[in-house]
């Protein structure tokens, strides 16, 4: 009896994706000159597992590729071959090829057979100990050579001839050997920059050369000592995390659980509402029971929410590779730092934030960080730094992409905006100027590369972030750098909100956007050009958005000074929302409108109140954005 294997395919694909990710991570962290036995074994095991799985399902091309990879890894871990840094590059390329082959099997996408053949041949050559053919090793060798030519233009007539790639075996070790024959100062600089150019601070790499000078060794070992504890520590953390037992659970089951807990919260709210009308003294034990129920429900809710939370390291982990490849391609020196990798956020958000972050990092690399000579000329360290930081703040998670590059040029952005006919004024606050780069088709790049510059990406990034219910802020200083900060709600399901009444309807405003609410004095509300209205709050003039006007409702309140102004802040801008009254503060379960209906303007979702009626949750970001053009037009 034949068993239908296709039902197991999905598990194989998921596990192989994880294994390839693990292999890539291990390869990036590998110390080329002193590769740890454990790490080599771990890499071998990932290749072996993928081979086994592929063999079970008859994916022969994957089995072949992994078999060659495995044999080479076997030789390395048995000390039959010595690890070279170009091997790591070939392995990383092999990982890419395997990803392509897996995708081909999983979704039928095209597999470049030539690339597969190339990588297999390269792996064979390495296994036989042949030196790198210039074609395959070119990208890896070009970066250090380029860095060295830049630095070594001044010293030594012997140096330039040694750098001719063609007659010389371009593997880094041989180049170091040649260069240490040159002046000590040249060797010192040479030794210092290649680890940077190739390793970006991620490798604890010390160049191995016969008879090297003390100075380069000391500087290199300092770098190695500093990097080693970091990699050692990280390897230790990961090993622990891998050992902690876990269960693979389908996302649908978790979502079902979250829905049920959501229903429980709503039911508990209904009970609380009914009980509030009852004499508390007479039914004391009932009240106590309900209070305990509320506590238990809240705890249960928090636990269940946390099941879907995953550390953001899942997203950050792909960036070392991206930065490494891109920096090599652009001939820039970049170090990637990550802070707050353990910060957790909802799984749904993790998947959605990967693309925007990818675009922002690529932008930083392409436009932000300058080339090493420009940086040196500006008095900066030739190696630029990109920092990815994540942390919790209030009910949100903030993810920052910061670089110490050239910063945004206010003048160029304003000029470009004028060119495109956008409404700008010279004394616009910086925040508003920076937000202009999100306009579709906006780019101040002189040259469009295949990385960026076309003006398409930022628009999509902002749309995606808003689609997640988040906001994006930019701060920048010309010459110093730029920091782009993304704020996202912690969970997609539950919200602390304030309910407000307008006419007969009730709306919910997420608490995180509310700064304060006040009843304006009659003289505080002023009109501008007879069109827009502003309210004066402690010396500041804030634009007024009247909710009943925006939603075509009949307000119960005659004059604005008899209602309530709720001051909201989003994306650095403040707005005053005019409503009839404040009703209360609740924790509400967010229900999606889009499941059965579609996205409504100004509304981010709906919830069910204690009396069973539906209340709409306001999309504060959209409302704030709506208020801006009014003011700009009026101004």
């Amino acid at each position: 009896m034949t068993i239908d294997m296709s039902q197991f395919y999905q598990v194989f694909f998921e596990e192989s994706a994880e294994l390839l990710g693990e292999m890539e991570r291990l390869l990036l962290e590998l110390d080329v000159d002193a590769p740890g036995k454990d790490e080599l074994n771990a890499i071998f095991r990932t290749a072996h597992s993928i081979k086994g799985g592929a063999g079970t399902f008859g994916f022969n091309e994957i089995t072949e590729t992994t078999h060659i990879l495995e044999s080479l890894l076997d030789k390395l871990r048995n000390d039959q071959l010595r690890l070279k840094s170009e091997m790591v590059d070939v392995f990383l390329k092999a990982v890419d090829v395997l990803k392509m082959q897996l995708a081909g099997r999983q979704s039928g996408s095209e597999v470049d057979a030539q690339a597969v053949a190339d990588i297999c041949q390269r792996l064979h050559e390495l296994a036989d100990g042949k030196p790198a053919a210039p074609v395959a090793a070119a990208p890896a060798a070009v970066a250090p050579v380029a860095a060295m030519t830049a630095v070594k233009a001044a010293p030594g007539a012997s140096a330039p001839t040694a750098l001719d790639p063609a007659p010389v075996d371009p593997s880094p070790e041989n180049l170091y050997a040649i260069l240490t024959g040159a002046a000590v100062s040249a060797a010192a600089v040479a030794a210092a920059s290649p680890p940077d150019a190739e390793a970006f601070g991620l490798f604890a790499e010390t160049p191995v050369q016969p008879g090297d000078a003390d100075v380069p060794r000391r500087r290199a070992t300092d770098a190695a000592a500093e990097a080693a504890p970091k990699t050692g520590r990280r390897a230790g953390d990961r090993a622990e995390a891998a050992e902690a037992s876990s269960i693979r659970v389908g996302v649908e089951k978790v979502d079902q659980l979250i829905n049920l807990v959501g229903e429980l919260v709503i039911t508990q709210a209904m009970l609380a509402q009914t009980a509030s009308r009852v004499d508390p003294v007479l039914y004391e034990s009932l009240m106590n029971g309900l209070a305990t129920l509320e506590r238990n429900t809240r705890d249960l809710q928090e636990s269940v929410m946390s099941i879907r939370m995953m550390p953001i390291s899942f997203v950050f982990s792909r960036f070392p590779r991206v930065v490494r490849d891109l920096a090599a391609k652009l001939s820039k020196q970049v170090e990637l730092k990550t802070v707050g990798e353990g910060t957790e956020l909802d799984k749904g958000l993790i998947e959605k934030i990967a693309d925007p972050l990818n675009h922002l990092v690529r932008n930083s690399l392409d436009h932000g960080i300058e080339t090493p000579d420009k940086r040196v000329a500006a008095g900066k360290d030739p190696k630029g730094t990109i920092t990815l930081r994540a942390f919790h703040q209030g009910g949100n998670i903030i993810v920052e992409v910061a670089d110490d590059g050239a910063g945004l040029s206010r003048a160029r952005i304003l000029a470009k905006a004028r060119e495109r006919g956008l409404a700008v004024s010279d004394d616009m606050p910086d925040q508003d100027v920076w937000q202009m780069i999100f306009e579709a088709g906006f780019s101040t790049a002189d040259v469009v590369t295949d990385v960026s510059g076309r003006g398409v990406g930022m628009d999509v990034v902002r749309r995606n972030i808003h689609g997640m219910g988040g906001s994006i802020e930019i701060s920048s200083l010309l010459g110093s750098g730029t920091c782009i900060s993304i704020r996202l709600p912690l969970t997609l399901a539950i919200l602390d909100g304030m309910s407000v009444g307008v006419g007969k309807e009730i709306f919910i405003i997420p608490l995180t956007y509310i700064i304060e609410s006040l009843q304006p004095a009659p003289g505080d509300i002023k009109t501008i050009s007879g069109q827009g209205r502003v309210v004066q709050v402690r010396g500041e003039y804030l634009p007024v958005v009247a909710l009943h006007e925006k939603f075509n409702l009949k307000s119960n309140v005659a004059d604005m000074d008899k209602g309530i102004m709720v001051i909201l802040e989003s994306e650095g801008a403040k707005t005053a929302l005019f409503v009839d009254e404040l009703v209360g503060q609740h924790q509400v379960v967010i229900k999606s409108l889009e499941t059965n209906y579609r996205k409504a303007q100004g509304i981010s979702g709906a919830t069910i109140m204690g009396d069973g009626k539906v209340a709409l949750i306001l999309d504060v970001g959209a409302l704030v954005r709506l208020s801006k053009p009014e003011l700009l037009k009026a101004a």
Binding site: S592, E594, N596, Y597, K599, A600, Q601, I608, K613, V614
Partner: protein, 177 residues
């Protein structure tokens, strides 16, 4: 009556509609829920109907067409309610205890529609179904699967799934994009 219908139908479109009705029928009887809108009686595939409710507690959504009344809470799910009487300018539009809402499950979405009244569930065999005329009353002919005859009643058999997911109804984001 048969002659009138056949004479009125244009050649190719009648053939297409007849083929469609026949194919849909599959030679077996199909069950239709019948309801009234104004003076007309409509029939929709019973398999698309989830339940029938009264009309209550609808939360309005701003800046939507007038026939989209808003959303309601159906045992924890938020679903939109459309009023077919407003959409097709039929019947007396009032909301009282007799107002009926048919909850449909079409194309993976749950939608409610307000009608004047609901009659019964009828089985129609292929012989009882006729191709639709190429002119239309309130409903665009592309949504009419055919005409059903039961005793002296004429039922307009509507493809409710196609209607609800069309851009006319503005219920899905397809309409926006």
């Amino acid at each position: 009556m048969t002659q009138v219908v056949e004479a009125g139908a244009a050649g190719s479109s009648a053939a297409v509609k007849a083929g469609h009705a026949a194919a849909a029928a599959g030679g077996m009887a199909r069950e239709f829920l019948t309801f009234r809108l104004g003076e007309e009686e409509y029939g929709i595939d019973i398999l698309k109907v989830q339940e029938i409710r009264g009309y209550e507690a609808v939360t309005a959504i701003a800046n939507t067409p007038s026939f989209i009344k808003g959303v309601i809470n159906l045992r924890g799910t938020i679903i939109p309610i459309v009023d077919m009487r407003i959409k097709f300018n039929l019947g007396n539009v009032e909301y009282n205890i007799f107002t009926v809402v048919i909850i449909l499950n079409v194309a993976g979405r749950i939608v409610g529609m307000v009608v004047d009244s609901v009659s019964d569930v009828i089985s129609l065999s292929a012989e009882q179904m006729r191709p639709a005329p190429s002119f239309a009353a309130g409903l665009d002919t592309q949504y009419i699967m055919g005409l059903g005859t039961v005793d002296s009643r004429m039922l307009i058999l509507a493809d409710i799934e196609k209607l609800m997911t069309s851009s006319d109804m503005a219920l899905t984001d397809m309409a926006v994009q």
